[in-house]
């Protein structure tokens, strides 16, 4: 026993030494070789998976001689955790959704923009600018928007759907696919019962909870990864799903239509280009952000990924596939009049409670 104890002591000692030694060299410094003109040769871009095509990064390099090294994340939480765990020195440009922007500013993860070096900001539609999460766009430049929309297979559903309340119809039993994402779905419930989709009032949340209870028998699947599949193969006839997914579903099955409930969009989010706090390549980061707002570059992104493009100057260049698809090309007034999903702080726990009750 004693021997084992001493062994453990030695091992612990070594472990502490290694850990201490590791701390010094823990954060690897990114490659920052600079060319003769004093311009960095490489910047690091932290982006969602499947959101920026490589071709756009390549043409940026061809134009400015700066390589963009892209790393991907698949949720805002993952991205924030990485930035907080020493990632600030690893990345230059990051793409958070609007509802985490406030938290990121509070946690000192993003830098205010130098808007003089982003003249292309004028290309963005007013409906996407100056929203509540970042008044005056001090930190954020809209990149794309991916709201949760209501897609209906009009061949299978004969009853008209104009409101979220129409989803409670018993005829739709076991017919609905929704994203496995609490904010937009509880948001729809709040809107349907006449509240703000960011409400934290106990009475509003009670209404939403009861509404969801009535919706439950109609839901067949919770699926965030590929909800389009259930709509395309006819497993479900109604979907409350991300617009990119809905757009792809429409391409494959023209019977699927987008319906705009009179209460507004339940899950409107805007994803933004932001400069990472303390970047050493601010000039190049701004150059890159400005480039992504360029009409040609913006069009190239929309050609590959069917999310809602906020770029006014790119609109006339966009392909027919994009323009004709109501899930991608969302009417501006819908966006202007819909409330964005906001940061709830500690009240998020109430939402999680409702969600657990709803699903469990």
């Amino acid at each position: 026993m004693k021997r084992l104890l001493s062994l453990l002591t030695v091992a612990l000692f070594v472990a502490v030494l290694v850990a201490l030694g590791g701390c010094g060299s823990g954060a690897t410094t990114p490659v920052s070789t600079t060319s003769k003109e004093g311009q960095a040769k490489q910047i690091n871009f932290f982006q969602w998976t499947e959101y920026t095509p490589q071709s756009v990064l390549d043409s940026f390099k061809a134009k400015y001689g700066i390589t963009v090294k892209m790393s991907n994340f698949s949720s805002n939480e993952e991205m924030m955790a990485k930035l907080q765990a020493g990632g600030l020195s690893e990345y230059d440009v990051v793409v958070p959704s609007n509802y985490v922007v406030k938290a990121m500013i509070a946690l000192n993860l993003i830098e205010p923009l130098n808007k003089d070096s982003i003249p292309n900001l004028k290309n963005i539609y007013g409906a996407f600018l100056n929203r509540s999460y970042d008044p005056g766009n001090k930190y954020c430049v809209p990149y794309m928007s991916s709201p949760v929309v209501l897609a209906v297979n009009t061949k299978k559903v004969k009853e008209p759907i104009n409101s979220y309340n129409d989803l409670l119809n018993p005829a739709l039993r076991n017919q609905i696919v929704v994203v496995d994402d609490e904010r937009p779905i509880i948001g729809a419930a709040l809107l349907a019962t006449g509240h703000s989709l960011n409400s934290t009032k106990a009475s509003a949340l009670k209404d939403a909870e009861n509404w969801l209870k009535r919706l439950r028998p109609n839901i067949k699947v919770f699926d965030s990864d590929s909800p389009k599949t259930e709509l395309i193969n006819g497993e479900c006839s109604v979907g409350l799903i991300y617009n990119g997914e809905a757009a792809l579903a429409i391409r494959q099955n023209p019977d699927i239509k987008i319906v705009w409930p009179k209460e507004g969009i339940a899950g409107l989010t805007i994803d933004n280009l932001c400069v990472v706090k303390g970047t050493k390549h601010e000039k190049e980061a701004n150059l890159f952000i400005n480039y992504l707002l360029d009409p040609e570059a913006s069009k190239a992104i929309s050609d590959v990924y069917p999310y809602t493009n906020p770029n006014k100057a790119a609109h006339s260049l966009l392909s027919k596939t994009y323009l004709d698809n109501p899930a991608s090309n969302i009417p501006l007034d819908k966006i202007k009049n819909s409330e964005l999903i906001g940061d709830l702080g500690s009240a998020l726990r109430q939402y999680d409670r409702i969600w657990t009750e709803f699903k469990g």
Binding site: A15, V18, M80, K220, V221, D223, G345
Partner: protein, 305 residues
């Protein structure tokens, strides 16, 4: 090194003490050298994260989802909230069902492998292990294709006129259990196989000589002697079933929340790490309790199997 100085050593004159220490150290050095990488590994990647989880479980969620240092038991009180009771019950039911099915199918399977001739034995064992070489997520997606309303099974059954309308197979608790059994089956077969193989065949011969029918010999000899394997297999299936959230999410269509999904939600959607950590500790405590019960009844440690 003060831990090495035993009272007995301290009685010796300073010189001898020093010498003695030197000898001990030189004898210990190779041992330390061999064991320390493993211990280091365990400390860094098992003990440290577990301690981290334990510490977080007593803290509070920050406004922006971080962790605030304020010691409290709130997260553990929240675990007892009746809201989560259904989740625990369903998780245990699915885990128990999966374990039973694995045992019922796995026992004869392991028995056949153990009794097969050496060449076939190797082939059969390889076949059990083979699916492991493919990512389990991909294999789960494979089941989706088979079980869908317009999937392979339904098409096949409709074609041969066994059914007139496609049956709802996917997105049911049955589908979840099927996926669990499929994924965890080898964890049941391997411990069963090793305990059946170790079985002394002469005992069965003796039973037969003394006039016992095969089924009686099985019940009185084979089964009791392979109980350690049965227990080990059951634990290795039961415990992971509680945590495999992706199977219940994909094959159950997210319709039934299990403990695994609840924990994942706390770390992602709700950004409530302390509560997620408390739930993880609950799961670990439950697992340890099950293993203790097993040790109590079998009288041997899991490491022997």
């Amino acid at each position: 090194m003060s831990t090495m100085t035993t009272p007995e050593v301290m009685l010796l004159p300073p010189d001898a003490n020093h010498q003695r220490k030197g000898i001990r150290l030189s004898r210990l050095a190779p041992l330390i050298l061999m064991v320390s990488p493993a211990i280091l590994w365990l400390l860094l990647f098992v003990v440290a994260p577990l301690v981290y989880v334990l510490v977080i479980s007593f803290l509070k969620r920050g406004t922006y989802g971080g962790v605030v240092a304020s010691f409290n038991f709130h997260n553990y009180l929240r675990i007892c909230d009746p809201l989560y009771l259904n989740i625990y019950i369903l998780s245990v039911i699915i885990a128990a069902g999966t374990t039973m099915l694995c045992l019922l199918i796995g026992y004869p399977f392991a028995y056949i492998i153990a009794k097969a001739n050496p060449r076939n034995k190797n082939i059969l064992l390889t076949l059990v292990m083979l699916p492991f070489w493919t990512n389990s997520l991909i294999r789960t997606y494979g089941w989706i294709i088979l079980l869908r309303t317009d999937g392979t099974f339904n098409t096949l059954l409709t074609c041969v006129h066994l059914i007139s309308h496609p049956i709802q197979m996917l997105y049911t608790n049955g589908a979840v259990m099927l996926g669990m059994v499929y994924t965890l089956f080898p964890f049941m077969v391997l411990p069963l196989y090793s305990s059946i193989e170790k079985l002394d065949h002469s005992l069965l011969e003796a039973a037969s000589d003394l006039g016992a029918e095969p089924w009686r010999a099985f019940l009185r000899i084979t089964l009791p002697l392979t109980v350690p394997g049965i227990f080990a297999g059951c634990i290795q299936v039961f415990v992971p079933t509680l945590g495999y959230f992706f199977i219940s999410d994909l094959l159950g269509g997210g319709n039934s929340m299990l403990v695994g999904s609840l924990i994942r939600n706390q770390f992602l959607a709700a950004r409530d790490w302390p509560f997620g950590a408390a739930l993880s500790i609950l799961l670990i405590a439950f697992t340890i309790a099950v293993i203790r019960i097993y040790n109590h009844f079998s009288g041997s440690s899991l490491g022997n199997i």
